[in-house]
Symmetry: C2
Subunit: 214 residues, 2 copies
């Protein structure tokens, strides 16, 4: 049975899962969830995710939600397909786990708030809060300082190869590169090169193409 992804194309958390499926060269059925109609808060969706948030994934009788958990599953369950995104060796994987947690707890909070202020609000015709932007840009800058010092030492965040930790940054990174926050990335040469590299991956370009078709 084919993998099913229940999601909205424009949700960063959904794009994170699609990026992973394309890196792993997996076929899947995309089941659109209309967020404006609040389908994510109604049956049948909330039977898969009682928290009412996209995306959700079905693989046979396995029903999963939370984008980062879905991606860990895909990366391990389909280890032999497409790009290797995780490692079996616990010491090598530990470095990736730290990178995954940094993305979730250090990078994502400012990146998600900046995406909301500078990308989502203008789309909805709502005014951006410049005080929040200034505060969150400073916060993001501190995180990117750490990334810069890591990326001086290795091409990707967790070593010489692209891993799930790099991949998890793509959705907000893609949005932010179209805003004034691009300057915060560009001010750090290794971060800037890393952004250009991972945003140009064929798997990610396929996700962008899906969004642009809609």
């Amino acid at each position: 049975m084919m993998i099913k992804v229940h999601a909205a194309l424009f949700a960063p958390n959904a794009a994170r899962v699609l990026a992973c499926l394309h890196e792993k060269d997996l076929d899947y059925e995309f089941v659109p969830i209309d967020l404006r109609a609040r389908e994510q808060k109604k049956e049948p969706f909330i039977s898969i995710n009682p928290f009412g948030e996209v995306p959700a994934l079905e693989d046979g009788d396995l029903k999963l939600f939370e984008s980062r958990a879905i991606n860990q599953y895909i990366a391990y369950a389909y280890a032999d397909k497409g790009t290797q995104l995780v490692f079996d060796d616990p010491r090598k994987m530990a470095i990736v786990s730290v990178g995954l947690e940094i993305e979730a707890h250090q990078y994502d909070p400012p990146a998600a708030r900046l995406t909301k202020e500078l990308y989502v609000k203008p789309l909805l015709g709502v005014a951006t809060d410049d005080a929040i932007v200034k505060e969150q840009e400073a916060q993001l800058g501190k995180v990117l300082d750490v990334y810069e010092s890591r990326l001086v030492q290795s091409k990707y965040l967790c070593g010489p190869t692209f891993t799930l930790a790099d991949l998890h940054h793509l959705p907000t990174l893609d949005h932010l590169m179209k805003t004034r926050v691009k300057a915060v990335f560009d001010a750090r040469p290794h971060v800037s090169a890393w952004c250009a590299d991972i945003l140009a991956r064929p798997a990610w370009l396929k996700v962008v193409a899906m969004r642009n078709k809609n």
Copy 2:
């Protein structure tokens, strides 16, 4: 070489790692970090964690931070010791991964804010913000409604056995059970029984005893 944990005993993120080490029956050296002296923002600590937050762990030449990443490492690297907290089977592990993400992204935000308002602030002689408490209690209640429906079906959050997903709740759970928020847990009988069960685990009681000695 023995595992070294750099931490402050009262930090919930540190207690999360100690709980895991005790579940795995591992010996370790505890290296105290004085948060009031802001040692976590200075060398030698920031050479391990450039984000300047406890805990950090050293296992030989491996240096890790972010409590949830440290625990995943411990659980996988020492799979043959103590309590089994993770699974090799990707489909079984996927359920635990979802539980881990729910803890980090749904449970922890309100639990951490309530811990700050009702446990940390009174210790520091600072007034609690009752509006925040009310709002976060409501948020926590929604999460615990989902937990209640899961715990009707299985003794622990991710199935019949205690896993890393249950363990990650312990530090804030322990603090909140000493506050008025206990009523939010007690109002849900299966959640209440789960709390009593996991808080009574010998490994957790050892962490509590370490704190009480200080």
